[in-house]
């Protein structure tokens, strides 16, 4: 069969969002791939320059529909640095708890989206069922289920209500039980392993060169976690090591990326328990937060999908002069052609699903 270009997107079951992947196939083998982004561009950065600092948390919530809390948190950290404000200790611990809960919810959404990519629709309902528990948990302090607007510049919006620890513990125990079930269902499944082992391989050095970050980098065996490397909030006081995974032949493949996220869920639950146990008493909001700021500041945080970076420049007014967002998935998707080549058409959803796409933050 002659070589031909196939459009996977902008409306395609593989895409998980609004983007386009053009692949060139020779029979069933991929010889070239071109990702096309920009279908979901909302010019968040430009809109943000016309809005006051504290208003922008509305925009940052909408950056990623699966992980709203982490993006707002990253913005708030940058704005706090710009304004010279520091959140109270209790707020930092609460932030850690909700961030890790959000990370679990995001990874569960990934798990739910990944299995239909392999042809198992049951996995979607399992992932969504478990994500529901964590959304309920996040709803308790914030009142929202998808867009929380909970982390504020200088702290968090509300204190955790009494009884939160017990509820969180119950939910996490349920998830641990179910993750054990899933590991039996997926890891021990011959077909699941056939579809995942040795698919979409990239080495650790390639991942670093291409700018891949987060779970996708750690799944290649690089123990780099911004929660430790450039620590923020309550993470310095918690006891944890970055989890890593490697593929059987070195580097990262779909299976190690799957294992990485499952392991990170376990780690996040551990972090939530630690943070809840060490939770100090006190205020949850700084006494005064200035409206105006000048200078420049940037903060990078470990988002659910990799390294999120916010760069803010203030000119003394109450709105940012310049706002730059570095999205982790933008670089990862740009590198996708390198690890798509040579695999089959059926591997495209597996590979693109395993890197956990989120178009909202990629297009901004």
């Amino acid at each position: 069969m002659a070589e031909m270009w196939i459009h996977m997107g902008p409306q395609h079951p593989m895409t998980h969002g609004l983007w386009n992947l053009r692949i060139k196939v020779n029979g069933e083998t991929i010889t070239d791939a071109v990702p096309e982004l920009g279908y979901l561009h909302r010019s968040v950065e430009k809109i943000g320059e016309r809005r006051k600092y504290f208003m922008n948390t509305t925009l940052t919530d909408r950056l990623c529909y699966a992980s709203a809390m982490t993006w707002t948190h990253c913005y708030c950290l940058a704005a706090e640095e710009l304004m010279g404000v520091e959140a109270p200790l209790r707020a930092k611990y609460i932030r850690t708890v909700v961030l890790e809960l959000q990370r679990i919810a995001s990874h569960l959404m990934w798990l739910g989206a990944y299995l239909p990519d392999l042809g198992l629709i049951t996995g979607f309902l399992y992932g969504m069922r478990d994500r529901e528990m964590f959304l309920n948990l996040l709803e308790i302090p914030s009142g929202g289920r998808l867009l929380y607007n909970y982390v504020k510049i200088g702290g968090v919006k509300r204190d955790l209500p009494p009884g939160f620890e017990a509820k969180a513990e119950r939910v996490m125990q349920t998830l641990e039980r179910r993750l054990k079930e899933y590991e039996n269902l997926y890891d021990n499944s011959k077909i699941f392993r056939m579809r995942n082992d040795g698919v979409g391989v990239y080495s650790a050095s390639d991942a670093i060169n291409w700018g891949i970050t987060g779970p996708n980098l750690r799944s290649a065996g690089v123990p780099f976690d911004l929660r430790q490397a450039d620590s923020y909030d309550a993470y310095p006081e918690l006891d944890f090591e970055p989890v890593t995974n490697t593929a059987a032949g070195g580097g990262s493949d779909c299976f190690s990326r799957y294992r990485q996220r499952v392991d990170e869920m376990h780690q996040s639950m551990d972090l939530v328990r630690q943070a809840l146990a060490k939770m100090p008493e006190g205020k949850v909001m700084a006494d005064s937060v200035p409206l105006r700021a000048s200078g420049e500041a940037f903060r990078r945080t470990e988002d659910s999908r990799g390294e999120a970076l916010m760069y803010l420049v203030g000119d003394g007014s109450d709105r940012p002069y310049r706002w730059k967002i570095r999205s982790p998935m933008f670089t990862t998707v740009s590198a996708a052609p390198h690890f798509l080549k040579g695999y089959k058409v059926a591997d495209v959803p597996a590979i693109m699903g395993s890197i956990d796409m989120c178009i909202g933050e990629t297009d901004k």
Binding site: G119, L125, S189, F192, A346
Partner: protein
């Protein structure tokens, strides 16, 4: 009254023809010579070939009716079991909920009611709703499609699948046909469908359907040979292609015991033949949108779905006849035993569909040629040994 055909022959001879022919003879005398054909028709019906054809028509239609009823039940079972596996309830539409739908359609809601109170039936009406939906859809032929092939492709797929239903007996009593080559003809009819898939895939002028059709052809290469070889073992032992003889041979012991290897190979190949997960490559919805059915719509799509379920059902029927002793069993009537075994296999198919991912094209080729083919050859050798020794 030994078979469906005998029954319908008796029905035509004793009831249908004596009732209809007087009317036709009466019509003949209304306006001769223009009404003469009515008399010709009556005389043809009374003749031997006429009676024969009428009897066949009725027998085939009854077999189809039984088959389609089972397909509806399979679709229902699939939805319910899938729901249970996914930790949800599955379809719950009931007669009671029709009231609510009617008031919704009329734009009239007397008071707000929580839906679950009326959507609490067993859900069999969901199939009716689906059927109505398929009927209501417009049939759209894609631009620049090859209209002739686009029309013929699904017809090949659907008609060859419906043909299967009348060729496989439910029991000695409910059998529309009894060909001497029996199951061999069934398998020949089974492998017509990929031609329809390939034709449709090419004719739609769409790259997803094209790849889907190609995959169907590649898949056919991989599983068809081991499938027939695994059946050959049973044919050898029974010494016949006829389902009746094969079942009669299994009176003492089901073939699944001496030919367990063949049974496994047959079930795996049959999953590939009827294109169910994990072998539903031609319509892999993750990468090919809907595979070869992407551009098909309306009632045509509904019939393609029905045909796929018919193929699954017939596949389970053949597996039952070949390896599980067909309709033989104590106490209960043969038909009940047969359906119990068939539904057992079908439920296994359904559970498998909702618990494993889909495998890749190159992997199914490897599986077919490197695993299933040697296994089926070993099974055949063992069957020859079995025949020679006993």
């Amino acid at each position: 009254m030994t078979s469906l055909y005998d029954w319908s022959y008796w029905f035509c001879e004793a009831w249908l023809v004596p009732l209809i022919t007087p009317l036709l003879y009466f019509q003949e005398h209304i306006m001769p010579p223009f009404s003469n054909p009515a008399g010709d028709m009556a005389r043809w019906m009374e003749s031997d070939p006429g009676l024969n054809i009428l009897a066949w028509t009725i027998a085939v239609n009854v077999a189809l009716m039984i088959g389609f009823t089972n397909v509806i039940i399979v679709v229902y079972l699939e939805r319910k079991i899938a729901g249970r596996i996914m930790d949800r309830r599955g379809p719950m539409l009931s007669l009671n909920s029709l009231k609510e739908i009617a008031s919704d359609l009329a734009g009239y809601a007397p008071e707000y009611t929580w839906k679950t109170t009326t959507y609490a039936g067993i859900g069999i009406l969901q199939n009716v709703a689906d059927g109505i939906k398929f009927f209501c859809k417009e049939i759209i032929v894609p631009d620049k499609a090859d209209r002739l092939l686009y029309t013929i492709g699904p017809v090949i797929f659907i008609s060859s699948s419906i043909l299967l239903l009348v060729m496989v007996p439910f029991s000695p009593r409910i059998a529309a046909s009894s060909a001497p080559l029996g199951l061999l003809v069934v398998m020949a009819a089974f492998s017509i469908a990929p031609i329809g898939v390939l034709t449709t895939g090419w004719a739609c002028n769409n790259k997803y359907t094209l790849i889907g059709g190609m995959r169907s052809a590649a898949q056919l290469m991989a599983y068809e040979i081991p499938l027939l070889l695994s059946m050959a073992g049973v044919f050898l032992v029974a010494g016949s292609y006829n389902p009746m003889d094969i079942v009669a041979q299994q009176q003492g012991m089901w073939n699944v015991v001496p030919q367990f290897l063949g049974f496994i190979v047959f079930i795996v190949c049959m999953l590939a033949e009827v294109e169910r997960v994990p072998f539903d490559l031609p319509e892999a919805e993750a990468e090919l949108v809907e595979g070869w059915t992407t551009e098909i719509g309306g009632l045509r799509l509904g019939l393609v779905f029905a045909a796929e379920y018919i193929r699954g059902f017939v596949g389970a029927m053949i597996a039952t006849i070949l390896f599980l002793g067909g309709w033989s069993g104590p106490f209960l009537p043969g038909e009940i035993w047969f359906l119990l075994k068939v539904y057992g296999i079908l439920i296994f198919f359904i559970i498998l569909r909702w618990t494993v991912p889909r495998i890749r094209t190159d992997q199914i080729l490897l599986l077919g040629w490197k695993r299933l083919l040697p296994l089926s050859l070993i099974n055949l050798a063992l069957a020859i040994l079995y025949v020679e020794v006993f």
